[in-house]
């Protein structure tokens, strides 16, 4: 059953690549866009990787039913995201490094990170 085996292999490959594809930034109109989604208790993906020394955008979607404050003290960003809303946060070219972000309305939420390389 070579055909069925191929289908299974393709399915497994797609399942493995899916989360990777979701966490990879996309280049749109010259600027890199990284997407992150708040699911009620955490940000997904927990780590975004973006190119260093280039401007980029972070699209933050709040899939929860309460407002969050997307805050990065490291990158000096502070935005309120209402339930169901997606916002775009503009980031200036950033030196290589590890920068954290959180929900400043609820500190029990695990921090996320932006890795600039």
């Amino acid at each position: 059953m070579p055909c069925r085996k191929n289908v299974i292999l393709m399915f497994l490959a797609a399942a493995a690549a899916g989360p990777l594809a979701f966490s990879q930034p996309v280049r749109a109109g010259g600027a890199t866009v990284a997407a992150v989604r708040f699911n009620g208790d955490r940000f997904e993906p927990a780590k975004l990787t973006v190119p260093a020394n280039q401007p980029f955008k972070v699209e933050v979607t709040n899939a929860d039913n309460k407002a969050i404050e997307f805050e990065s003290f490291d990158l000096h960003r502070e935005r309120v995201v209402r339930p169901g809303e997606t916002i775009t946060v503009y980031m200036a070219p950033t030196a290589p490094g590890h920068y954290t972000f959180c929900d400043d309305f609820d500190h029990s939420v695990t921090e996320g990170a932006i890795e600039a390389r």
């Binding site: 003290f73 000096h76 960003r77 502070e78 935005r79 309120v80 946060v89 503009y90 980031m91």
Partner: protein, 152 residues
């Protein structure tokens, strides 16, 4: 040695001992970044920069524990929330700029900022009504411009 003298000695020794737990007095980044009309600029530099920037002029008592612990915690938190040295960073993202302008207006209008203990300790922390009004209108205008830029 009576109990009272012993108490004073223990207190004195404790104050001396905690001086070993010193807080680093530092300003991280080079000056620059903040631009505003002259009236606003001078009022903000005098009343806000002490905590909300990397240009703090540390008073002598900022070196003495336990006062230094309180001052360093306050300045650290203040810089985290609003750092005028990073002003250009905030302006890069219109949504963030709108939040910061809004917070400045709210804090100055309500009298929450500068905080009472800074007003009590330093004349620079006491804003005149005219200075408050200038900061408020600048912040309202800045917020409106930022919201306009965000919607485009």
């Amino acid at each position: 040695m009576n109990r009272r003298t012993r108490g004073w000695l223990v207190g004195f020794a404790t104050v001396v001992a905690i001086q070993a737990l010193r807080m680093p007095v530092r300003n991280e980044r080079a000056p620059g970044g903040f631009a505003a009309p002259t009236t606003v600029q001078s009022a903000v530099r005098a009343a806000c920069f002490q905590c909300h920037s990397e240009h703090a002029r540390w008073p002598w008592y900022a070196q003495i524990a336990p006062v230094s612990w309180f001052i360093h915690a306050q300045v650290g938190e203040a810089r985290k929330r609003l750092n005028f040295t990073a002003w250009k960073d905030y302006l890069y993202d219109p949504g963030t700029a709108a939040r910061k302008f809004g917070a400045i207006d709210q804090m100055v209008r309500s009298g929450a900022m500068p905080p009472w203990y800074f007003r009590a300790l330093s004349a620079r922390g006491r804003l005149t009504p005219a200075q408050r009004a200038a900061i408020e209108s600048w912040a309202i205008e800045g917020r409106a411009d930022a919201l306009k830029a965000e919607s485009h």
